[in-house]
Amino acid sequence: MHDNNKLPAVALSDRIDSAIRRLTLGIGWCYVLLVLVIMLQVVLRKGFSHGLIALEELQWHLYAVGVMFGLAYAQTTDSHVRVDLFHAAFKTRTKRIIEILGILFLLLPFIAVIFIHSLDFVADSWRINESSSAPSGLPWRWLIKSAIPLTMALLALAVLSRLYREAVLLVRGE
């Protein structure tokens, strides 16, 4: 729905973006699964007065996966919210330079910090084989935690693709 501002074509970036979109949209079906899990929990809890803690936890696992992988998707569709008050009036060239500088000095450092620190975070969880703190909760907490470095890498890829696109277009003068 937010696909309205199509970016000009750059072959390599187009290929990377479409691959990312295919992957993340596939993962987006976890939201449909989430609807079903919630309904199952409602039925179990109200119908048989026995809700499952594991299902409760599965809900936020699914939501977390959807959100985190979605970040890269929204990057390829260029839907992250912008204040375009002045932006709309800027020359295309200015916009490209802003985008390049922003990616280099704001976005990539941010992704890098999260990615680097998440490695230890996941490794610790793996080392102690962390599980839910609820006795009948889900095991393998490191699995869902590894979504952080994974999705940050994917987001970085989407961002680099955008960086390449902007650089090429800037050089081409488009």
């Binding site: 729905m1 987006g28 449909v32 309904m39 936020w60 008050l85 976005l107 910090v113």
Partner: protein, 461 residues
Amino acid sequence: MEANEILVIAMFLSFIALLFTGFPVAWVLGGIGIIFAFVGQWADANLDTFTGLDFLTLGLVVNRLWKIMDNWILVALPMFIFMGIMLDKSGVAEKLMHSMQELFGRVRGGLAVTVTAIGIILAASTGIIGASVVLLAVMSLPAMTRQGYAMPLALGTIASAGTLGILIPPSIMLVIMADQLALSVGDLFMGAVAPGLMLGALYIIYILGYGLLRPAAAPVPADARPVTLAVLFNVLRAVLPTLLLILVVLGSIFTGIATPTEASGVGALGATLLAVYNRKFSLQVLKDVVAGTTNTTAYIFAIFIGASCFALVLRELGGDELIESFLTGLPFGPYGIIFFILAVIFLLGFFLDWIEITLIVLPLLAPVISALDIAIDGYGVVDNPQLVWFVMLVAMALQTSFLTPPVGFALFYLKGVCPPGVKLTEIYRGVIPFIVLQLIGLLVLVFVPELVLWLPAKAYG
């Protein structure tokens, strides 16, 4: 002024400056956070500060990100988004408009009232401002133009009616506020019902009054038919399924059958069933809804994540204490401070939208409000009545941020779907009376806290 206070102010100013470059808000927040962590480290070494910030402490961002993922309250958010997009695709809203227009056809300003009424219904079934505004505009703007409505009135009606969804429950904003301040989602939902309806009523009164004073601005259609039983029946038939869905979602939260999370799931499924019922459902529709949900949820959460980094560094720089001591030190008395805070939020709303304001400012304000000595009656039922009331004031102040230029998301959504001839200044002009109405509503709420607290007290008493 101390060095770290200068850093806090510099951080805020850089944020606002970089916002206007048009780089995505989420990444400006995150990036500024990272940069000022290193500025803090530099200041520790070279100035008289003791922030303790460095690359290592920035690692807390990961723990904070994890707590955003590991949060069973926020699960409701993508579900409400799913529901909103599915309703849009199910064709329900379109039907509603058609039949209700017939019902109000002969009243001066009837069509605009219809738009507001549907805005309220949409608001009570979802809360996705973008969806509501776009929907209302697409369905009603051509009709209003045809009938000869004055453009500013038409545009203002659509934008304001579309924004009601953020206040009238279910509301993402209230879910997030409850999470931020450890308040009951139920109290906030129930507390927002009366203020939300009051706003809707104010809009309708204004439209009708405007139509009386300036008949040319809101003409009666030439081909209006009288309201017959058949028309009434048609309206009922069109509205019933949607009303049922709303009843199920709100009712299941209200009666405790379901938690807000569960209700959001029920709503998502219900919207899907409505689409099936209207023969608008297909695999492609589901794919579109999945894509839309993925996209919308992601860009909202990106702002969460960025704001989390920004807030972390701001706190370590001592921003909390600065704002808190500034606000509590104001020589205004309790109500003076409340007005001052609301004014600040209203002004922030010109530039920021509710997500950033909520995530950054609200937690800072909670202790300030708790420290104020204002006796608000929770009827012995509502916990923290003072805070619940205050949150509702903030919620209403934030609602205006959608409408206030220059940065008002409702205005942007509206501009996106208007015919090319419509100028942004026309939209600005159209929303001004509605902003005034919201400020009147806010004033009423300040002095009549019962509007907020009576319903939750009755519901849970």
